[in-house]
Subunit: 359 residues, 2 copies
């Protein structure tokens, strides 16, 4: 036996609570699950003892504990509330085995957090609605909240940090040549501006490729599908991770004409990693991700977007990649979370005071 | 000060966890909330120290702890998941203050129950779907389940008891005279056979009065509303508790032509308390509530129902009331639950073994 028990004891024990809408990592769409996968694998590389609570069809180098067989968005026979509550309770019923629980499952786990002694860090992946604020407010003092962008911080909540997501820079290498098409990448939904992207591509005289899941059927049927002709406007359907780098890297620009305050945009950073500039409305986190005129363009109108697409052809794609390669690298994100974990563990210990030994 | 502290200490401390779909007691519809109200008030009369967790607009002689302002079925601005989880966690965060927690909130509270030392009794108000069974199965050994009828017992779950609901017999006095109309009472939904009740009334040549909330809009608009003429078929809308006794008592028969396995039927017992016989399909708990030919009629078809309506006019209404007055009295239900509480507390203590004193 060559193991070193004394060293084992020192390893940080993290319970990583993933959502179960999709498996980890997601087959195509699933940014919360994508984040969990990137962070989990990064922590394991650093020697952290991570137990990942995720669907049974998930894939990880961490220890996997699975309650739900698969994601409830992937199997309509699964009752979301049943599997969510079984999944979450499984973590909390083993809370004593971990130094920290990292929650990426929105507000519901917070309502279990007051019943265990292990501190819980919650990454808030966007406040979907003011209606969920009562839970975040209740646990504001005891919870340790991480924002994924400064833009997404709510003025009535306290946060231990803002930590931008990182990506695997090797999976998104530089594509040095200016691409010949425009790209819409993400869920098909009015929030994301799919229809506006078609307008811009038409006016710019460039082909538009659309990749992503249909999240709003009525919008797709009314505003997108009738304009897909297979030549000037192409719809690929959902795009898995293996094709994503090439698709992003081959574009002249990513059109990200969002009409909501997006808390973060994985595809925005991924595009820039490949050298592709992003044309975006300056909503939500976009000002934190894009430097106007350097690695993308912040535009207010369709006309401005068309002009930006013209300018995108002259952008130095190597400089676009350089602008994100350190700032949004997954290792930077892992560093940031390790610092938060240490802060939380120390703060939690200080608040609790000395703990009596129990048999 | 005349209080007797030593006696205070002996009082059973029950946390009563009500649903928050409606307030307690409900203004009109809400059988789970109706049950909670009847039991809570009954326990308070026996001197039990009951803390009722329910909506803020609830009314009780117990101590009320309210998190949600009102029922989420009464205020569409309330997010059900947010208020459910805050409401449930509030009970479990105070679990140490109670000898027992009585859960009438279906499966979600079970997923918190493993995190506290207080035993939890769950009244299963009907298994709405096989899809929720995984939670009940997980907590089958540690949970203490009460069925509300033998018919509703699931063969893969264990129960500590079947306890039929009781009602306040004084609120439903005998109406000795044979009524001149037929009554449909309950939510308007295909499960409940509203349309079939109209068929039976028409064939029997009797007026039908319909009282209850519309739960299935499409069914109401297609199959019920067009047949409401205000003379032969009358729709009253939801009926509050103050009018219920007179409405049930004035009917010749209650038509309860259900097409699902109803776990219990408050209106069935309430009707019989007033002397009104019930004509029902023999689904679910009906064989436990109705004795065919004595206090009602179990029928398979519309034709049999029409014949039963004829026979209903000759029924001894006093005998109908006598058949339920002891069996379904609220005090019998309170006795049964007190016995279950004692069993659960004893069993839970025996399973845990001696508990070390903590500071």
């Amino acid at each position: 036996m060559t193991s070193s028990p004394s060293r084992e004891v020192e390893r940080l024990r993290v319970a990583m609570l993933a959502p179960i809408s999709w498996r980890v990592p997601p087959r195509h769409y699933g940014p919360w699950e994508q984040f969990v996968s990137l962070l989990t694998e990064g922590l394991v590389r650093r020697g952290v003892d991570v137990t990942l609570f995720a669907t049974a069809d998930s894939s990880t180098t961490a220890r996997l504990v699975a309650i739900a067989p698969t994601g409830y968005s992937e199997d309509a026979t699964l009752d979301a509330k049943v599997w969510e509550s079984l999944h979450i309770s499984a973590v909390f019923e083993r809370a004593g085995e971990y130094d920290i629980i990292h929650n990426s499952f929105d507000f519901l786990p917070l309502t279990y957090s007051g019943l265990v002694e292990t501190p819980v860090v919650t990454t808030i992946h966007g406040l979907s609605s003011e209606r969920i604020l009562p839970v975040y407010k209740k646990y504001n003092d005891s919870g340790y909240y991480v924002a994924i962008s400064d833009a997404d911080r709510h003025d009535r909540l306290d946060y231990v940090a803002t930590i931008h997501h990182g990506i695997d820079m090797e999976a998104f290498p530089l594509y040095p040549d200016t691409g010949g098409y425009l790209l819409f990448f993400g869920r098909i939904h009015p929030d994301k501006g799919t229809s506006e992207a078609i307008d811009v591509a038409r006016l710019a005289g460039l082909r538009l490729i659309i990749g992503g899941i249909v999240q709003d059927d009525a919008y797709f049927e009314r505003h997108v599908e009738p304009r897909v002709d297979g030549v000037n406007v192409i719809y690929l359907g959902p795009v898995g991770p293996e094709a994503r780098g090439a698709l992003l890297g081959g574009a002249r620009a990513l059109l990200h004409l969002i009409s909501f305050d997006e808390p973060f945009g994985f595809s925005v950073v991924e595009a820039m990693a490949t050298g592709t500039p992003v044309v975006a409305h300056p909503r939500g986190s976009m000002r934190e991700l894009i430097r106007d005129g350097e690695n993308g363009f912040l535009v207010e109108s369709v006309e401005d977007a068309v002009a930006a697409v013209g300018a995108a052809g002259a952008v130095d794609r190597g400089a676009v990649r350089d602008s994100v390669v350190d700032k949004f690298d997954v290792e930077r994100m892992v560093d940031d979370y390790l610092a938060v974990y240490q802060h939380v563990i120390d703060d939690h210990r200080a608040r609790r005071g000395p703990v009596p030994t129990r048999g």
